[in-house]
Amino acid sequence: MGKQDRDFKAVGTRPLRPDGVEKVTGRAKFGADLSAPGMLVGRFLRSPHAHARIRSIDTSKAAALPGVKAVVTGDSFDITKVSSGNHDTLANVMARDKALYEGHAVAAIAAISVSIARKALKLIEVDYEVLPHVTDVDEAMAADAPLLHENMFTANLTPKPTKPSNIANFYEFGHGDIEAGFAKADVIIERSFKTAATHQGYIEPHACLANMTQDGQGELWCCTQGHFMVRNVCADLMGMEISKLRVTASEIGGGFGGKTTVFIDPVALMLSKLAGKPVKIVMSREEVFKASGPTSSTSMRIKIGATNDGRLTACEGEFNYQGGAYADSPVQFGAMSAFACYDLEHVKTVGYDVAANRPKNVAYRAPGAPMAAFAVESVMAEMADRLGLDQLEFRLKNAATEGTRSSYGPTYNSVGLTETIKAAQSHDHYSAPLGANQGRGIASGFWFNFGGQTAVSLNVQEDGTVNVTVGTPDIGGSRASMGLMVAEELGIEYDNIRCIIADTSSLGYNDVTDGSRTTFSSGLALINAAKDAKAKMCARAARIWDIPAEAVEWKDGCVQPAGANAGEFEPMSFAEIAANADNTGGPIAGHHEINASGAGVSFGTHMVDVEVDPDTGYVKILRYTVVQDAGKAVHPAYVEGQYQGGAVQGIGWALNEEYIYGEDGRLQNAGFLDYRMPVASDLPMIDTVIVEVPNPGHPYGVRGVGETSIVPPMAAIANAVSQAAGVRMTELPMSPPRVLKAMDDAKGG
């Protein structure tokens, strides 16, 4: 169902990725791999306190230490020249009046060696006035909570609050009459949930090499999901013209949303400017945990009503998301996406975006949606059990389809939720038997996907090969997908196309690689750039034949005469036209710049089997199947990789990952030993099923696939664990102590 009629030649095949050999042989250059002559090392001094007023910073002793070449504090940046939209970013990069979390940068130095840098940091004297702190979301919302920002008044709340609080934003979504909906219900289930903050856990720490010269020009090499964003933000913070800063994106060892902002880059640039030498900064893993951008911890309440025959009558949700020191939680997306899977007459969600003494939140893969789905799909599973209905049937009965008004407002056009549920039903996983202490969990999930600003370039070389230039860092194999789409459009071999990520001076502005946008948007732009090049090549061939340009057509990678001239000349190959570029008008290139729209939403349905050790609460993942709509899988192997990666991150989030704070407001597990991400031996092979319901907004039907896969896992696993353990789990992570306690409490009555 939903298959396209179109026959694809290149799209849908599984060639090797162009960056593979470099990566497996260790030659790919990541953020920390570049060096420059005379390079200095940059290091940060960070707040040991969760919340403290900075009375003064004395850097004179550090600056006087031989080998120290520059010192930066908050005062080094002129905030009056920085646009208001970047004030929080600047304050996060280098604390100004207050340190708002443990690990908040308060000063930085550049020195000729690591040991001198370490010594120098110890010579910086900071006079702190330690303030009461708050890290828990519910406590931060309390009326008497320590206040992070005296000027934070809840936005979008009517009437306007008269007192400041830690609640930065209020959101409400939905339609219908929620009370009338619940009145129609035969069964109503209401439950509260909590989830811990998690980190994206990318393997590569943030790293950069900055080089500011005395004439005010700058170069920056860094590991990021969006170097154009880095350029614009850094130029603003540094008071530079945008065109004078050239940023090059390194290969990237994972981002998952966490590399969509800046932490160290502006500081490296400022240190370089003050020192007059290149400065390299590489974050330690501890710094990554304490001072990059994890996602929200949450507290949620869900209420669902249904009739005895399994039709949802009303859905309600309250979402409180802790958004870090500056309240940057993605709660609006949680509240929008929570019930997006279902066809609902009456739905209402509210969201509160809450500041707390924790690192500034940054996006994490489908930001905000996984936690909301955990809560909603847990209640959905409980409802299906209560009604005696099959889990998938119950979801199918209420699934959103084309024409459904979504819970966040718009009416869906073509969507593939039903298809994923049906594919799950017919998968042998769904009917496989379960043993003792085992459980099976089901959950569906949704993500919006996004398009955005994109500029690409395509250059035809004289030997008939093609260089493709995009501005979206490749974090999931997108260079291979770009090559496939260009091969499809031009009708040439994939191996004759090489795609690179250009620096910020080589292309127009490109939005960050986020929102599952890159294969969709850069692909869309490249298809148009290829069409641009093809039109030029048709014109060249027509001139060679001396016939009108309209009298030729493109077929199978060749130009051939058409209409009245059909058959008059032998088709001219791509390579032949390319070889004659010099005599026919010079280099042949295609370009395209767009603000892409039409990204199709994506749904997925996950199934997981677990076994719970009744004596220890240990959860083993036995089997896992991801079913998701890709619209059209350009490179199916990397689509499967995205599905598997989302499931694995979700498994970590569900079972053991969490930010653990002490009474002192300090993070206790800032390392991979105690921030327990799954290791390979914890996981079964993650099975995948690619469903293809074409996106009407893309010529090949492509939908973004990178984010939806992390939405259902926590709910699916919670449902499986709850079944196996015989008690409903409502708090993440479902670590062994928590599962064991829940089982013991349930037994104790």
Partner: protein, 81 residues
């Protein structure tokens, strides 16, 4: 005239009306008139919103045409990871 749906808490800032009628031919005019007619919306619109036209999401797309035939929703600016 086009009909525009506002998300819940945004509607509260527009005198509590979840649906508004606006004279506009494209997104630029729509956002401009919304801010003029309902000053309470101005800060939110200035911070940036997404506009959904028949289920398709648009950010920063002034010239996208709209008519009474379209379903138009103002939504928080869509981002991702």
């Amino acid at each position: 005239m086009v009909k525009v749906m506002l998300w819940g808490s945004l509607a509260a800032l527009a005198e509590g009306k979840p649906e508004l009628e606006i004279e506009a031919k494209n997104i630029k005019q729509l956002l401009q008139r919304l801010a003029e007619d309902h000053p309470g919306l101005k800060p939110v619109l200035e911070k940036g919103v997404s506009v959904s036209i028949d289920g398709m999401m648009y950010n920063d797309a002034w010239f996208e045409e709209i008519s009474s035939e379209n379903e138009i929703c103002i939504l928080p600016r869509i981002e991702g990871g």
